[in-house]
Symmetry: C2
Subunit: 592 residues, 2 copies
């Protein structure tokens, strides 16, 4: 079926069912960012493979709403599909709802599949469309009939991590979740988000590419905890271990019935942004629902000492793999045909040599020259560029290790560089250093770190269209909340133990892209008469290319930081490198 | 009546009326920050005279919730009143509601005077207390019976400003408000906030100290505009002028009846944070109420070219007065007895010599040595310090001119200075310069400017407990929204034409306080491939004392800014100064 045929087939069903607009969000029943194949509905319908977007289909119009990260990609992928790109003004905003209010009439019906929409999004739809007397139906899946070889739910195996690895037992975690429930007087807590469940039950798997999570739901009560999971996923030993720790295991698809059977007059706590509408609507109307952040999201974000220490060790392993990779790249360039896809595979191979490595934490972005200007570029067979001895290469990659998750971006020059490239690179580096060295009062928010990081770029009338940083899990999702460093007014304090990326960038369309990214751990700094202050400990260990630095654009404090950082990289990695790699890294990390 | 007797009298009435907790907010029927004497209820009941706070009275407890700006003052003023200070964690938050939920029982009644609570606060109360089955009564004034000489509503005269002064006619402004109403499909717009009304009708008066506003309400409809105002306030000519421009004038106290008589099925737009609950509850239940920022608040914040130009000229007048004052101060120090109150009066006298000067824009804060450490200090007869030839003097003052509103803080040394003082002063100056020279993408928010301003202080483990800046009106309130530069996640973009203060500080309890404040105008900067950028034009014209500067703590760019700023002050003010003042200012603004 071509995309045009799919669109026609959807429109035909819409006519039959008297649906005037059909919405396809990018999501799954767990409101995941990365989706199991079964829920890659937008790619199936329109060909667009970006990680964020919404399709809206009427009889006269078919559009994809997505944000600036994906404008170029969407323009490309939507060619000859019948869909057109609608550019979001604000990343993540449901701006298509306004479009619906402007293009539909009273009495029209808007439909979507409640499994793919969060409670939050569904309520926004209802709140904004109902005043216009537009009807909403959240129970319609128009894809199932036309998606003949639709993938089944993943059946991958799952496993429980040892306490020594994660530093906290399942009962300890459940007990903390229960404490939080008490504050809300909540008798039930429904957990739908896979990373929250993974954290609570020390459970990992491979149901979603790059995210070591397991399709499941959980229902926590004061005296009972139920894990809804396909029973075949767990080995008997893990099942017994879970049951021994007070966890009742029930089949994955039994959740909805369990919700319908809740005793009357109960209070159910759930996260409206991480619970799907289809599940939510199974909770009987007579229950009181408290909509708030999952308590485990906040708990999970603050890594304990053991998680932090394991992550530090993981950075050594990742740094060794990266050092081996960059040395290999430098030496092979010009000798063999290197492509974006080829080097990403080679980098994976280096990581795979490291102990406890499981998988990539996301698809490697190897963006050569103009491809680097696409912040979320993923090389395809068509686009796959051959590397030459010139231009900038942007490499954003990460690993899932049983001992932690990594995410790092470096830019290297493959030949001679221009003044413009050096200036942009140096300003991005300056921004990264400003963020990394920030000292800030306890209670500060991500938007404050974001502003401090961007300032060196703003000063030179430069900026980047993405956030400055995202939370990172412990052997879990590479994007995890609740904290984030970006320009939005998100009121989440930076807490001790949070791991976040700092990754400013600059993108020159058609020419090159620059992004430099480290992960940092939030730590306490000093307390003075003005209060408690916090700072960041840089975790990532990989040399920063100094050949691209224009020292005249940096203050001495930035040069000092760069030299100290590169020296630390050498000191920590060299014990794990052979002599030729040590020598090569010593050269790369030489003081400037 | 002593404060204890007042508290007893209130408690007696509470018993009689079966009220378990009585709340007294700091407000008036227009939700003003500065209050007419009639509504200074907290001062009447507890003696506390700060501009922000809430009293909560039960039979066993009486407390004042206020924020860190007022901790010292409240501790002092509440002595022997029966009230105790409860320290707010977040400025402006209604934290007493949590206290009520913890200290009251189901079936208890909480009462307040709906004239003193915004719709927003009243709804917070209802939303948070109702789940605890606590009853709420918003129609109880327990003060009227015990406040025997309670001041009447002010009867001051009001007047209309010429179009040449404000740059925009009343019909033009009403037409813009109507356009905004259209977007909400609102047939009625109730305006309660006095500065909004003053702006819409180019109306000024002196009903509230330092704020040139007039007690009034307005009701805007698509084809009719009603101003509710005491008819004696306006001269016949102004009345006729208003009526000639389509404004119907009705008595102030006719508003509530007008609301009760609204035709059924209408849509009423109002600002829940700037409309009192008593007025709100007069709107019949069958109306649809849209709660949003008053459109005039956003319109008013962006000064037109004429307002901006008048403000620039006003800064010259204010700067001349300040120059004369600081020269006088320097020369009289040691010769006559100077006190905090005395110098504030003298400064007022200098301002009064300036054309179009009307009044102070707020009570001058003249804080000598340790008094400077109280950000909202106001000298009383008891505290009034005598100035000696030593220590730091903090002077925060402003003027209302028909041509604009000023607000400026300077710190000067009256004798020798210590290293610690110079370091703190220089770091505050550095922060002020960082904020003033910020370049930022169009659409940036106040919290971003706030972070950039604070960074030089954070870097040295220092901070201040107040915001970095507030909006300032055009011959209107010295504090005006919707924009603000502070740490809170307030999602208001900085627009072209906004006037805001930039006023970082440092406070050493018991020793000294430092704050340096200029007003800045938001202006367009350049547009690049990364988008449109904005910057600030500094408006305030008064030399910054360089004798306190430690150059080693500044980068060259800060020193350059300081020299250029002081030079600009000299260039703009000297044509309006006599030779001796020119000479004195030349010395003060000499390059460092």
């Amino acid at each position: 079926m071509t995309y045009f045929e799919k669109l026609s087939a959807i429109r035909k069903q819409m006519s039959e069912q008297q649906i005037d607009a059909y919405i396809i969000p990018s999501s799954d029943p767990h409101i995941s960012e990365y989706l199991p194949d079964r829920f890659k509905c937008i790619a199936f319908v329109s060909g667009f493979t970006g990680s964020a977007g919404t399709l809206v289909i009427t009889q006269n119009f078919a559009g994809l709403w997505t944000d600036s990260r994906y404008f170029v990609q969407a323009n490309d992928q939507l060619k000859n599909t019948g869909f057109e790109l609608v550019k979001l003004k604000t990343q993540g905003a449901a701006e298509y709802i306004t479009w619906l209010t402007e293009h539909l009439e009273a009495g029209n019906t808007v439909a979507f599949d409640g499994k793919l929409a969060s409670v939050y999004v569904a309520k926004q739809l209802i709140d904004q469309l109902q005043p216009h007397k537009i009807l909403i139906n959240g129970t319609v899946d128009l894809l199932d009939r036309i998606w003949q070889d639709r993938p089944a739910l993943p059946k991958e195996k799952a496993y429980i991590l040892e306490n020594e690895l994660v530093g906290e037992s399942i009962p300890e975690k459940i007990s903390k979740v229960r404490e939080a429930m008490k504050k809300f007087n909540a008798g039930y807590h429904l957990v739908s988000s896979l990373d929250d469940i993974a954290w609570i039950f020390n459970l990992r798997g491979s149901d979603v590419k790059c995210n070591p999570v397991v399709l499941s739901f959980a229902l926590v009560e004061p005296a009972k905890t139920t894990l809804f999971i396909n029973g075949n996923k767990l080995v008997q030993g893990d099942k017994e271990m879970l049951e021994g720790q007070g966890v009742t295991i029930v089949e994955y698809d039994a959740l909805e019935e369990a919700l319908r059977q809740l005793p009357a007059g109960e209070t159910v706590l759930l996260d409206p942004k991480r619970t799907c509408y289809a599940v939510y609507t199974q909770i009987p109307q007579y229950e009181r629902v408290i909509e708030t952040l999952n308590p485990s999201t906040t708990l999970k974000a603050c890594k304990n000492d053991i998680e932090a220490e394991h992550t530090r060790q993981t950075m050594v392993k990742d740094g060794v793999a990266l050092t081996e990779f960059f040395k290999w790249l430098e030496e092979q360039l010009g000798k063999e045909d290197l492509t974006e896809i080829g080097i990403a595979e080679k980098l994976l191979a280096f990581r795979q040599k490291q102990h406890d490595f499981v998988n990539e934490s996301f698809d490697t972005i190897a963006g050569y020259m103009e491809h680097g200007a696409l912040p979320h570029y993923k090389a395809t067979e068509q686009s796959n560029a051959v590397l030459k001895e010139e231009g900038l290469l942007l490499l954003d990659s990460g690993g899932q290790y049983k001992t932690g998750t990594t995410d790092i971006t470096r830019v290297v020059s493959l030949g001679s560089t221009t003044d413009a490239e050096r200036m942009d690179y140096t300003l991005v580096l300056k921004a990264m250093i400003e963020g990394s060295t920030a000292i800030f009062p306890k209670g500060s928010k991500g938007y404050q770190i974001d502003a401090i990081t961007r300032k060196p770029l703003w000063d030179r009338l430069r900026n980047y269209g993405h956030g400055t940083g995202h939370g990172v899990g412990f052997f879990l999702n590479v994007h995890e909340g609740p904290h984030v460093f970006n320009t939005a007014n998100i009121d989440i304090a930076i807490e001790e133990g949070m791991i976040t990326s700092i990754e400013p960038g600059l993108y020159r369309e058609g020419r090159y892209g620059i992004r430099i990214e480290n992960l940092v751990l939030s730590v306490r700094d000093q307390e003075t008469e003005f209060g408690e202050f916090m700072a960041f400990e840089t975790l990532t260990l990989c040399y920063i290319d100094t050949s691209l630095v224009d020292k005249t654009l940096l203050d001495q404090k930035h040069i000092d930081w760069l030299n100290q950082y590169n020296n630390m990289v050498y000191e920590r990695l060299s014990p794990h490198l052979d002599a030729t790699h040590q020598q090569w890294l010593a050269h790369k990390t030489a003081i400037i």
